[in-house]
């Protein structure tokens, strides 16, 4: 953290090229957060890049009491949310994707279907819930960090992850029932 703070100090002092190091350290998580919200790789990449630019522009305002990563991921989360609001109609519905995927190889059809149904159920969760569930299962973030990123209380995160998981199970059950009826 001290290392990161000194790096930030040098960037603020004018060594802009050092920002590449911060980008390389955090791009994976920032991109994953944006991807979980937007569910579209090109959009997520653009949002993550935008988040890094915003973070750079506000680096001098960064409060050192928090971790840089948490601060950055919060920016990535908010940027992804605003991207989603802006281009809600452009997104491809998950229902449209089904037809193409069904025609692919027969070998792992059942496994692929299950994965697809879970992704479908996940997409029905709210953005914050979906991200909280994903970050929680990654086991890389503490509840406090997830709370800081998503703008919730730590206890709320705990409750919402628990409820989201149950809601996912219900959604999956109803999707599977609908699928069974169409067969």
């Amino acid at each position: 953290m001290t290392d990161e703070n000194s790096l930030i100090d040098r960037i603020i002092a004018g060594e802009q090229q050092l920002y590449a190091e911060l980008i390389n350290r955090h791009k994976g998580y920032a991109f994953t957060i944006a991807l979980k919200i937007l569910q579209n790789r090109p959009e997520a990449e653009e949002a993550a890049q935008d988040a890094f630019i915003k973070a750079f522009q506000n680096l001098a305002k960064f409060n050192r009491e928090a971790k840089f990563s948490t601060w950055l991921y919060r920016i990535a989360f908010n940027t992804a949310i605003s991207y989603k609001r802006k281009s809600k109609n452009i997104f491809q519905s998950i229902d449209d994707v089904q037809i193409g995927q069904r025609q692919e190889g027969e070998g792992n059809v059942e496994h692929d279907d299950k994965k697809r149904f879970i992704e479908q159920a996940l997409s029905r969760l709210s953005d914050a819930d979906r991200l909280a569930v994903n970050l929680f299962y990654l086991q890389e973030f503490s509840l406090e960090e997830i709370a800081d990123i998503t703008g919730m209380q730590a206890n709320t995160v705990k409750v919402r992850v628990h409820r989201a998981r149950q809601r996912l199970a219900e959604e999956l059950k109803s999707i599977l029932q609908k699928e069974a009826l169409t067969l």
Partner: protein
């Protein structure tokens, strides 16, 4: 982090009662990994960074310049009027007795001493202070920032 692992175990450890769906969800979510962006991600951000900082340090906003011009014009007009003696005769606020019927007002209404020149001078000074603040924020600060980064 241990607390989270415990919590995760609590959520996922006894899936038997919660059904096949929960099992499937847990299995899927445990396979979720960090996604990686394209290889030129960092390069892309770095090149846009220079463009972004150039925009941030660019010309002062048009609105601020217009506001500054407006304040300066107001000050100029006020000084001209003041020099022409437009406020010399304004010395007190009086309620015109012709407007108010005498039968309704029995008591004498006092006139309020009022120095028009002084008030206009204060207004000019406040406008000058505002103009200096806007000049600093809209012109001087961006200009020095640009010089520092040049």
């Amino acid at each position: 982090m241990n607390e989270e692992n415990e919590a995760l175990k609590k959520f996922t450890g006894n899936p038997g009662n919660e059904g096949e769906e929960l099992n499937a969800i847990d299995r899927y979510l445990k396979t979720v990994r960090i996604e990686q962006p394209s290889v030129n991600f960092t390069q892309h951000v770095m090149s846009n960074l220079h463009r972004a900082s150039a925009t941030a340090l660019g010309l002062p906003s048009r609105n601020k310049i217009l506001m500054l011009a407006g304040i300066l014009v107001t000050i100029g007009i006020a000084i001209l009027l003041l020099a022409g003696g437009a406020f010399d005769s304004v010395t007190a606020i009086t309620v015109d007795q012709d407007i108010l019927p005498n039968n309704q007002i029995r008591e004498y209404i006092p006139t309020i001493p009022f120095n028009g020149k002084l008030v206009i001078n204060i207004v000019i000074l406040m406008n000058l202070a505002l103009a200096f603040i806007i000049l600093d924020r809209a012109v001087l600060k961006p200009w020095f920032e640009r010089r520092r980064h040049a």
